[in-house]
Symmetry: C2
Subunit: 369 residues, 2 copies
């Protein structure tokens, strides 16, 4: 299977692009931010709220759904869209990153990864074929190839080995994958080594995936280093395919990623910090749990028109968070996701009007104020 | 202040009544169930969801809001309606029940109750006047008189003392209360002693409150005893005023209460059991966390048209609950509240059509099936 990706416009000022990706559950406008629904739910949100804030696609996690409730059960329910009642596009990751970051007692060899569940300690094996099998059962629109993600920091030799294995696994994924509408994106690895990133980009490009994830960034390295790596590698990532920077979701990184030619992003950051009482605003982050907001009857972000900002004050939301009331983290989550989705909408508008550089300047001025 | 209560119909078959209560934030149709928003939020629900399921009035808690965020802060926010963005009627309890059931190290005398906060152990005093002051600051539509609620079981002598003190405190509440639109309901006590219940009903009636709460029932005594007490006392509770059976919310008790002439109910039961994964259905309770529902792709209650039942399966909701996902308890809460609100709607319809006895028979047949 392949997927139609229309490149609507290339920015004259930067590497930014405007695109449209066609999936069997609808189109998405790129550049785009994808909310993460790890366990078949974007934490605290209902599907209709996700639609209301303009989510066009969500991500879900192969590793988590395989362990609980099990991909066979999801398949029995008619697939993930039906199980969770989300009829717009879904992207599933490969489980690769999670077995390396969450699971216990991993053993890696060329065949795959043996690991123990973080839930009950039970033993499991993920191979490229198994990852494809699970993702086909889930029935997402976009599956990701099973990859080995090197940590940060990591030696050149180790990073090279993981990168080369990722290429071999990518071939096996393509070989095994067979689904009426689901497509598989390859994942480029290579850690923070520019030559490895370029080698991986070239190797994966030659496999002609319908889209490319860039994995193994935003795993602890400084932002400036991530930007440098992107600068070096992006010329080698096919520009007629969607390019997805995995696990990146802070507002400044979204802007910088788009400037470097990224089309898709995902991250748990907006939902995770929301649950800790931190909100993203046009003037930067704000820890709404802080005492200074106890009697602040203004909205989280006066420039935002989400349900939280239109109807509730910082003081009320702070009260809910302090009192451990679920509505508190619901409202901060609605707001943070709305903020990123609106940011991407503004970015798309700026690309359209050839004013992304100007937009970026204004963004930073306010964001750092 | 008084309140307009229109008695639309008295059932020919039982003591049930159909009524309409006019508050400054809108009318409510009785008999009615009031969802409980202890800390200025009905747990897990947003105000618009509450409206969507047909909540006409909610209850909130004086004790909790006094401790956190503080009634003065709520007053600064423009009152509780404004603070929590709920523009329909609100009833606040007096804090009496909570200081006896939640707070620590209580000392009671005729002046009031000294207690320690369950949150931080700080020392506080509630008097009838203080309870009125807090409720006036909150600006609810209906305030409750400060009462002493005897536990169950409790000796006759102790129950009598608490009941007599409740009458003296009720007088002080009326004396002190002064608010442009808020009204105060008296609370009848007397534990499980019929003569004390009758005495309390008579004493409170003579104070001419615009409505009456029946407190101190559903505190551990058998349901049959509660029904007996109601049978004995209701002839002494003014029938031209709304009658509110406090803290009662199991479906069968709602039906039995209405048959005995009750107009208003509140209880944390539907929201509390929802968070433990238990749902109320037309066929009785169902513990949706149980393994038997893992692959049950039918809705919680096929007869229900709430958002949870229209869009999600038992299997999905069970998965969410097992995975500690907030959406799980949101959906069970939406359903349980919808169930009780729809039950009351059906009851009102049955009273209107003089078929409440028939309705009750059908209700029990299915409920116990």
């Amino acid at each position: 299977m392949t997927i139609k990706f229309e490149l609507l416009k290339k920015s004259k000022e930067s590497q930014a692009r405007l695109g449209r990706l066609y999936t069997s559950h609808g189109e998405i406008e790129t550049p785009i931010f994808m909310p993460v629904g790890t366990q078949a739910t974007v934490k605290t949100m209902s599907p209709r709220e996700l639609k209301e804030i303009g989510s066009q696609i969500i991500l879900s996690n192969t590793y988590h759904l395989y362990l609980r409730p099990g991909h066979e059960l999801v398949k029995e329910a008619g697939g993930l869209h039906s199980f969770m009642n989300w009829n717009l596009p879904i992207l599933t990751d490969s489980g690769g990153f999670q077995v390396f970051s969450l699971a216990k007692l991993r053993e890696i060899n060329d065949n795959g990864v043996t690991f123990r569940s973080h839930i009950d300690g039970s033993k499991h094996v993920f191979t490229p074929e198994k990852s494809m099998e699970i993702q086909m059962a889930l029935g997402s629109d976009i599956a990701m190839a099973f990859d080995e993600c090197a940590p940060y920091p990591c030696s050149y030799e180790e990073t090279r080995k993981a990168m080369e294995r990722t290429t071999r696994w990518a071939e096996r994924c393509l070989e095994f994958h067979n689904h009426p509408y689901q497509v598989v994106f390859g994942i480029i690895q290579g850690g923070t080594y520019k030559d490895l990133r370029i080698q991986s980009s070239k190797e994966l490009s030659s496999l002609d995936f319908p889209g490319y994830g860039i994995g193994g960034l935003s795993v602890g390295e400084p932002k400036s280093l991530m930007y440098e790596i992107l600068d070096e590698m992006m010329p080698y990532v096919p520009d007629n395919k969607p390019r997805y920077l995995m696990g990146v979701g802070s507002p400044d990184c979204l802007v910088e990623g788009v400037l470097r030619g990224i089309d898709m992003f995902d991250c748990v950051l907006p939902t995770r910090i929301a649950r800790n009482g931190t909100v993203m605003t046009s003037r930067g982050k704000l820890v709404i749990r802080n005492a200074q907001y106890a009697r602040d009857f203004s909205p989280i972000d006066p420039e935002c028109d989400c349900y939280a900002c239109k109807n509730f004050s910082r003081a009320y939301i702070r009260h809910l968070l302090k009192a451990d009331e679920v509505l508190g983290i619901r409202l901060t989550t609605i707001h943070n996701l709305s903020y990123l989705i609106n940011l991407m909408k503004d970015i798309r508008e700026a690309i359209k009007n050839d004013r992304l550089i100007d937009f970026t300047k204004n963004f930073y001025e306010k964001y750092n104020s």
